[in-house]
């Protein structure tokens, strides 16, 4: 009886596991293998070159730039949306009219295809006809009007603004849900004791949101390492290499410069970092559900 149930369990698990291993686990591991070769991505043969690709990365200035950009991207597009999302959630959880509409609006950008977000912001940033320069000129700040995506000094910042726009909604939703779990009695008691709003926020709200903080930050960090679509469609890594991140630089090496071995080495490095950073989250999800 038990054995039959064990078999049934594997029959249930098999289809998804097979797909998962064939199209995710196996490709990820074979990328690791390719990263030790000089394969160009086209020829039938290649040589193994040991750690050469990884050594080359150390002396590749674009890799250094991409790594720095990834780091800046991770910090800014995690911290700003999480803080803004928290503020929005706390405000929306209080006395505000039209909550459902407000919530709808702030999450809307998150459901759009990233390519369309890139198109929309590329259009807003257009030096001549873009709304952003037009708005600056309208209020007399003509001197601030500039080609936002076309110069090294502002391009990365400009892409991050678009990322913040689309990423505020997710932490807001999670914090809103978590806020429902904090008992109103706590606030009432604190008010009776004469605690200010500010004190209540730090001593009741923030501790009450601790599990939510963990999940929000973990998922935001995981997401930030995956950046590709937005940069690719908005700046194509440019101007020059100003907005290259590891994902796009990998793409250029594999599909533009025919250096598949080197490209996969770049992907391996960022994946290892992403996985290492997220292991505590994965472990917590598994533990919570384990029987």
């Amino acid at each position: 009886m038990r054995r039959r149930e064990g078999l049934a369990a594997w029959v249930f698990a098999a289809p998804a596991l097979i797909v998962y291993f064939v199209f995710l686990v196996y490709p990820a591991l074979s990328s690791l293998w390719f990263s030790f070769t000089d394969w160009d991505g086209l020829s039938p043969g290649y040589n193994t070159v040991g750690l050469d690709n990884y050594k080359d990365m150390a002396s590749d200035p674009v890799v250094r730039q991409a790594a720095v950009n990834n780091l800046i991207w991770a910090v800014v597009t995690v911290v700003v949306p999480v803080v803004l999302g928290l503020v929005l959630a706390v405000v929306l959880n209080g006395k505000v009219r039209g909550k459902p509409v407000l919530r709808l609006i702030f999450y809307t950008p998150a459901v759009l295809p990233l390519v369309s977000v890139a198109s929309i912001w590329g259009w807003l940033y257009n030096p001549q006809y873009g709304a952003i320069n037009a708005a600056l000129r309208a209020v007399g700040l003509d001197s601030l009007a500039q080609p936002w995506l076309g110069q090294d000094s502002t391009a990365l910042g400009a892409t991050m603004v678009a990322a913040i726009w689309l990423r505020v909604g997710f932490p807001m939703l999670l914090y809103l849900a978590a806020l429902q779990g904090i008992s109103p009695d706590l606030y009432e008691a604190a008010t009776v004791d004469g605690a200010s709003r500010w004190q209540q926020f730090w001593h009741i709200t923030m501790p009450g949101l601790k599990p939510a903080h963990y999940v929000v930050i973990a998922l935001s960090v995981i997401d930030s390492f995956k950046v590709f679509d937005l940069i690719y469609a908005m700046t194509y890594g440019g101007p020059g290499t100003a907005t290259q991140v590891m994902g796009t630089w990998m793409y250029f090496n594999v599909f533009q410069y025919n250096q598949a071995g080197y490209g996969t080495a770049i992907a391996v490095v960022i994946t290892v970092v992403a996985v290492a950073v997220s292991i505590p989250y994965v472990r917590s999800q598994t533990k919570e559900h384990a029987i």
């Binding site: 149930e5 064990g6 049934a8 369990a9 594997w10 249930f12 698990a13 998804a16 596991l17 797909v19 998962y20 199209f23 990820a28 990328s31 390719f34 405000v91 929306l92 209080g94 006395k95 505000v96 009219r97 039209g98 609006i105 809307t108 459901v111 759009l112 295809p113 990233l114 390519v115 369309s116 198109s119 929309i120 259009w123 807003l124 006809y129 709304a131 997710f170 939703l173 999670l174 849900a177 978590a178 599990p211 929000v216 995956k226 590709f228 469609a233 994902g247 594999v254 996969t264 992907a267 391996v268 992403a274 996985v275 997220s278 989250y281 994965v282 999800q285 598994t286 559900h289 384990a290």
Partner: protein
């Protein structure tokens, strides 16, 4: 008295912030319904002097949207129900069938949430090429399924766990096998979770870009995001046409989101937090 005033002030501030947040989309709509000459003469922030729907007709034809819409829809129909179903099967095995190595399987599958898609593209491209299915929608289904599985299993298994064991036990005593218990009891009782996962997976499939960019070459096989990227390049000097094209690409997803947001919100919070 002070309480209502406080609420009013906050409402005004929040409304202004929300207007700012939604303004890119509002500007997009205003630009899409005016002639290009009117846009250039009066600037992007002005109210249109005349209205027209010609931009949509132009963008629809030149952007090849009839084709890309069809392709994205085909993918959605082929991929999403299949993905949700096999994920539900695995989730059921993990939650209710006391599968061996369950914790190890969960760990392995949830790790997939953290893996950037681009680590797999070179081998996936090689596999598709040797199977002769590059430049075909069929070639996308495997990778799309694989990258959808971790989140779907995470949400569904936590939902299945909440189903009382007594109900499943009763069915077993009545002689129902695991398969019938799954189909006639577990799935119907989990309808809300299934709908949520279905919608989120549909959004992710509709929006997916990287695999489609790499595996699809010919215009006849492109999906909405890849088609939009090409269109953006062609229309870079036609601001009103570009705005119309972007809207054509995003309107279905905006409409679906507006009507189905309850499910999306519920699923995101359930999947991410304790479950």
């Amino acid at each position: 008295m002070t309480k209502t005033r406080g609420g009013l002030g906050t409402t005004v501030v929040m409304t202004l912030v929300a207007l700012l947040w939604i303004s890119p989309l509002v500007l997009l709509v205003i630009t899409a319904v005016r002639p290009l000459s009117d846009f250039i003469a009066n600037g992007p922030l002005s109210w249109p002097g005349t209205f027209t729907f010609d931009n949509f007709a132009d963008a629809w034809g030149i952007g090849n949207f009839a084709t890309t819409y069809r392709n994205s829809l085909i993918l959605l129909v082929l991929k999403v129900p299949l993905g949700v179903f096999i994920s539900a099967m695995l989730a059921f095995a993990l939650a209710k069938l006391r599968i061996r190595f369950g914790t190890a399987i969960m760990y392995t599958v949830f790790l997939g949430l953290t893996i950037p898609i681009y680590i797999t593209i070179v081998p996936v491209f090689v596999m598709a090429r040797s199977a002769g299915i590059t430049d075909s929608l069929i070639g996308l289904i495997g990778p799309y399924l694989a990258f959808g599985i971790p989140f779907e299993v995470l949400v569904l298994q936590s939902f299945f766990r909440q189903l009382p064991d007594e109900i499943l036990e009763a069915a077993r005593i009545d002689g129902a096998g695991a398969w019938r218990t799954f189909l006639t009891i577990a799935l119907p009782l989990s309808a809300p979770a299934l709908v949520t996962v279905f919608i989120l997976d549909a959004v992710a499939t509709w929006n997916e870009f990287l695999f489609a960019l790499i595996l699809l070459n010919s215009d006849a096989h492109k999906t909405i995001p890849v088609g939009l990227l090409n269109f953006q390049g062609q229309f870079s000097n036609n601001n009103t046409g570009l705005a119309a094209g972007i809207l054509i690409a995003v309107v279905p997803i905006l409409v679906a989101y507006t009507f189905l947001q309850r499910w999306i919100v519920g699923g995101l919070t359930a999947g991410a937090s304790k479950g």
